[in-house]
């Protein structure tokens, strides 16, 4: 392996960090340069992520023969140094992050990035945190990357601040600070009991525990789980989510679409690793932990989350809140499937995860456009938040001077038939989010339901599987009803509507994300095959553990 290729895993972390620092040093007036740096950095991340993903597949069997790569930062060997580990799931999530990041960045160029300072810096730091959280193989490092992505998300949420954003940011920050404290308690308790923070070293040490230590370890894992569930938007820890995502500006909300999935990823990864500790402990006959209890808890929490999402979807009056609730439904479905713990269900769930991230991200950007369409110029002048939309607003009665080249709806290349585009994009997004045929959402839900029904037929008493089937279909129906209602109000009523001029920069990312979803539908077979390999490697974490711990010898 060439020395350059060996350092590839660290690129998705270092590149956005350097880009963020560079953008910070350039003046606001050098906008073209800032934007170029931002876009180049995300394109570089995309290239690095695609390459990393390719390296974990069979395409390059001589580099990482087992499909797992490890990178010891500073050449300090595991388990003492911090390692980055990459397998197929990590590679997939990295590619997904770069795609969403690129879409959000390009979408913001239309006008959102000029509403307040430092949008591109914050977006780069958010991407750095998300990439790092996916890559790291160290528990405390995971905490640090979580904090980086959260700190950046606070800034992005407040971007172009108005009363609504500040109010929801207050709730968001308090909830996440509390989540961070729980995370710290869990991590330090795990260190106190096992004496390691390396995620690959953890299963072996945990399996050797017994008695009170084992109980303490289980407690620590449960506390850590609560922190992850808060991030994942699990009921009853998700009341902050719809309001926060609805308040954020469109590109920021589009980038946030990946954030709940970081929590899901952490649960999947640690669940896979700690689950292997159970297998080890069972072999030695000293198991105190009852994984079925935890999994059962996750199953019922997932069902409750979906129920909450359904009620919220039906009650929401605002499109952006509705999209937020559909995100809760998707988190709930993933948690339910993870809790059910049937091996054939995992690959369709991952397919659903990819599709739902792309769809919600596109939907949030579309929401930003529709909101502009239904705010008439008179209304915009009358509302007190108008300066916030036009040029930023600062509390304490001080108003910032409008940005040079103040964004104007009338400037730029107008897309003909903007309403037609928005209507079409809305229809596609509805099909994707509700899981109606013929797009990727349907493929994913169909695969999940058919696997669940197959599993139910084998068992004598399969109420859990049937409940999953019932709630999934009910969730699809509820969001279809709610979205159709809002769509009719938005596109078929002419009262209070002014046809906006869309810019290519604004509409392009939405179209591209929808096209990716369509491509995912067309290539569902190969994609599902790849995801089955991914799921299989998650169920056999032995290779991951061995590869990471092998950095000890390969100095």
């Amino acid at each position: 392996m060439s020395p350059w290729l060996r350092h590839l895993p660290v690129v998705p972390i270092v590149l956005p960090l350097l880009a963020a620092a560079t953008i910070l040093l350039l003046t606001e007036r050098a906008r073209l340069l800032r934007v170029t740096v931002a876009c180049a950095s995300i394109l570089g991340q995309l290239a690095a992520s695609v390459m990393l993903l390719a390296l974990t597949t069979e395409a390059f069997p001589d580099i990482w023969p087992q499909g797992v790569g490890a990178y010891a930062i500073g050449a300090w060997p595991a388990p003492f140094g911090i390692v980055l580990a990459i397998d197929r799931l990590t590679g997939l999530m990295l590619v997904l992050t770069s795609v969403i990041g690129l879409a959000a960045c390009v979408n913001s160029l239309a006008w959102w990035d000029r509403v307040g300072p430092h949008f591109h810096t914050l977006l780069q730091l958010l991407l750095m945190g998300v990439n790092g959280a996916f890559l790291t193989g160290d528990l405390f490092n995971l905490f640090v990357f979580f904090e980086i992505l959260l700190a950046a998300s606070y800034g992005l949420l407040l971007h172009g601040s108005n009363a609504q954003r500040v109010k929801s940011a207050l709730h968001y920050i308090v909830v996440n600070l509390l989540g961070a404290l729980l995370f710290l308690v869990g991590v330090s308790l795990i260190y106190g009991v096992t004496g390691t923070l390396n995620m690959a070293d953890l299963p072996g040490r945990a399996a050797a525990l017994s008695g009170a230590d084992r109980a303490l370890f289980d407690t620590a894992a449960a506390i850590l789980g609560v922190a992850f569930l808060t991030k994942a938007g699990c009921w009853p820890l998700n009341f902050w989510l719809p309001g926060t995502y609805a308040a954020a500006s469109a590109p920021a909300a589009a980038a946030f679409a990946i954030l709940t999935k970081v929590g899901i990823y952490a649960l999947l990864r640690l669940g896979s690793l700690i689950g292997s500790a159970d297998a080890l402990a069972h072999a030695e006959g000293s198991a105190l932990l009852r994984p079925e209890l935890f999994r059962g808890g996750m199953y019922y929490l997932g069902i409750a989350t979906m129920g909450f999402g359904i009620v919220g979807t039906l009650a929401a009056q605002q499109l952006s809140r509705l999209v937020g609730y559909s995100m809760i439904v998707s988190s709930g479905l993933l948690l339910t499937v993870m809790g059910l713990d049937h091996p054939p269900l995992l690959a369709p769930a991952l397919f659903y995860l990819v599709g739902s991230v792309l769809a919600t991200s596109a939907f949030f950007m579309l929401t930003g456009m529709t909101e502009r369409a239904w705010r008439t110029p008179v209304e915009a002048q009358a509302t007190p938040d108008a300066p916030a939309a036009a040029g930023g607003y600062i509390p304490f009665g001080v108003r910032r001077a409008p940005a040079p080249h103040a964004p104007d709806d009338e400037v730029g290349v107008a897309i003909p038939a903007a309403m037609a585009f928005m209507g079409l994009a809305f229809a596609f997004c509805v099909l994707l989010v509700t899981g109606s045929p013929p797009l990727s959402g349907f493929v994913a839900k169909f695969a999940i339901l058919s696997s669940a029904i197959q599993a139910a037929q084998g068992a004598t008493w399969a109420s859990a599987e049937w409940l999953l089937v019932f709630v999934t279909i009910a969730a699809g129906l509820a969001s279809l009803v709610a979205l159709t209602r809002i769509g009719m109000r938005l596109f078929w009523s002419v009262i209070g509507r002014n046809t906006p001029r869309l810019r290519v920069l604004e509409a392009g990312p939405v179209a591209i994300l929808i096209l990716i979803c369509i491509a995912l539908t067309v290539a569902a077979g190969p994609a599902m095959g790849f995801l089955e390999d991914t799921a299989a490697s998650l169920r056999a974490p032995r290779i991951y553990i061995e590869t990471v711990l092998a950095t000890r010898e390969a100095r």
Binding site: N162, A163, V166, V174, L177, A180, P395
Partner: protein
């Protein structure tokens, strides 16, 4: 000593939680600060409570690990303090902005009842 430290962490944690559930933003932020003190003390304790032992092994080579304190929790607690400090400072700014924009210090931005 263990009992004393545990009671101290418990009191900090309890007061922090109570303040966190109060309706005023300033109470919430003080509650979060108290909770983070409790958590930082907790992390520190995970390296076991010992007195008079350095966390650094000298240059003379291999030494008895029992004679030294565990340096990892000390490094962790430093990181946690820095991160907690920064995010609390950010929350303080948001609190002031919310007060300025809504005219009240209620966490929901409007007085209840």
């Amino acid at each position: 000593m263990e009992a004393l430290v545990s009671v101290a962490i418990g009191i900090l944690c309890g007061s922090g939680l109570w303040l966190l559930l109060r309706p005023r933003t300033f109470q919430v932020i003080v509650g979060l600060a108290l909770l983070s003190y409790a958590v930082n003390l907790f992390i520190f304790c995970m390296g076991r409570l010992v007195i008079g032992r350095a966390p650094i092994i000298g240059t003379d080579g291999v030494a008895d690990p029992a004679a030294f304190a565990d340096p990892v929790p000390q490094a962790l607690v430093l990181t946690a303090i820095v991160i907690g400090f920064a995010t609390t400072a950010l929350l303080l700014v948001v609190l002031l902005a919310a007060r300025g924009l809504t005219g009240t210090d209620h966490v929901d931005g409007r007085e209840s009842g």
